[in-house]
Symmetry: D3
Subunit: 141 residues, 6 copies
């Protein structure tokens, strides 16, 4: 089994806020991240697929096809966006856009598209908020 990873970046704004809490409680738990004007990051997205290299092409997954899927399913919707205001998973009472939840959202957007391309299966999604903090969502492979 070989695991092939492709990395991409996107720049987005977010803030942390739980609507069911008081303003005070939000600031206490989320600190500076509770500033509702938003702040932002250069996120790095790593998509890992697993499979056997195709003996005809040598690829676990077609790299250009994987890039197109990442662009269509995730980057076009996340890049240069305010996650809390413009991305459905996080808007209007959705999940708080933590690094953990961004990784889950990306997995949900990518799983079907990646798994229908060929023999390879989506294996893991890693999202870096900064070089110091990253979250990884792993499937069964």
């Amino acid at each position: 089994m070989v695991f092939l990873t492709r990395r991409a970046t996107f720049s987005a704004s977010h803030y942390y806020w739980n609507e069911s809490w008081s303003e005070e409680q939000n600031h206490q738990v989320f600190g500076r991240c509770a500033n509702r004007n938003g702040h932002g990051h250069n996120y790095t997205l790593e998509v890992t697929v697993a499979g056997e290299p195709d003996p005809v092409t040598g690829f676990v997954v077609d790299l250009k096809g994987l890039k197109d899927i990442m662009e269509r399913e995730v980057l076009s919707g996340f890049d240069h966006r305010h996650l809390n205001l413009e991305v459905p998973e996080f808007a209007a009472g959705g999940m708080i856009p933590t690094t953990e939840n961004i990784a889950r959202a990306a997995w949900n957007r990518l799983e079907r598209a990646v798994n229908t391309v060929g023999g390879a299966r989506l294996s893991a999604i890693r999202v870096y908020e900064t070089p110091e903090i990253f979250a990884e969502y792993r499937g069964g492979l």
Copy 2:
């Protein structure tokens, strides 16, 4: 002459918008950066000071003192902020928060504080918006 550089990071939101232009013109010139919900970056700030190392300490500039100045003059005001809404240089008809203008604003905030510490002089300010794009403002040294 020795040049000593200290690097720090901050995460902020911004957008590009010229109030005297039509919406159409803003989108034409600034593209996705004209999204007024804002998007964000992990900015890197590099502050370079120039001078002769002090024969007693071996320092061109006291590193802890420089860190405190950077924190007080720039990072406390820029980090986890929306530049267009919360930072005076860019708010309410101020400069557009391009990488070039962020470097200029940081220079103006740091110049007096750095130059009054000791023999060293502020020499350059470099700001990275992403690893692919950075601006440098250089003084006379």
Copy 3:
């Protein structure tokens, strides 16, 4: 299951020396690392915890709490220290401070503190001695 990793750095000195060996044998096995004046590294410590994101906060682990634990349990004792002389696990006949053993020591210091914070569990500790050499200690998750 989501894995959340936080990275930090510390600068420390060490040397490799087995007290039960002759000087010649130490130099033969450990080469330049057997210089008992010590040499040093900028170590990078990556702490990975695993769990389900809390539906209320979106966090697998409170990031500020994790940072405090890393600071209290590991960094305050390792940073700007000579590992062979000042850190109990490696001093006075303790383990040789190889990258492998530093990872084990960090695991032992962090396991209880991390696992008592909430639902998340310590999953892995990775220590980079240089960008070219790193060791990872993995728990059961």
Copy 4:
């Protein structure tokens, strides 16, 4: 169990071409990588071995020994070479030198040599073609 990884780099040329396809088909599937003059990369090779640290040395594997094996088995044959023309696994009807297949070839070259050194076992081989694309071949550990 501790996993120790050593990283090295090599610079090589390659192209993608399936001899059983027409020129048109090769260009359609492989795009610019089908240019038979070749193009090249600074590859990064990461070799991970797994085991218990030796209580006498603190090492999972002797680092100098591992470096020598990597040099002898892989780097001396891959570095400053044209993979399609000079490396047996990829030459004369062999595998297409994709990142996936380079990782497999490196595993096959390293497995016996690493596993006969001591108690440690080869665990994974990761090959970066660029910082954005990498493949990992994992053994059973």
Copy 5:
């Protein structure tokens, strides 16, 4: 004066060979780089322009315009190419494609196009062959 830098990458093959020398002399001076099958690198190109930020846009140079110029003048001709065989400056008795000469060639290709865009002037070209070796060609600014 503000200096704005944009970074891009390209992957290419090359070798070092002086046609007027014997094979022996080429191998003696150029070592492994004299392998005429070619080897390759992930090159990084940094283009620096200097000027005053436009008060209307905040830009020293239009970033999208600079990207297009870099793509058209340099990257489209260098990326996924064999420099000795396919790039006029280095082919058929041209310059040896050292990092120094690649920087000069990129300067010559970019100078006119950059300087006719607006008030900004091309200031420097930096080319990284690897993270350890880079060359910079500087103009008068």
Copy 6:
């Protein structure tokens, strides 16, 4: 004029201590760096030479020759050493081994050797103590 830079790394220990000060004063000015057991870093050394590329080789400076000079004049004496105890410039009442002074010492060791190799001249020495702190000593070019 083209500037060619070669980068290398070394791992060393140091501490900051002014013999003419009291213990209290040393701790006040140098903080944790005054721990006389020493601590260490992975230093990065960048050596920049300036000149015209030789029309016969395309080199500003022979890269292998430059590497040998760096190894002989600096790395062999600094790597895996305790700067305060084993390096003459810093031992026994010499300079305090700050990043600034390490850059100066490296310049003094390299200047003659580099300038006698050929037409190129030593232009700058940059030393990184960590990725966040670096010093540069510049000559006249």
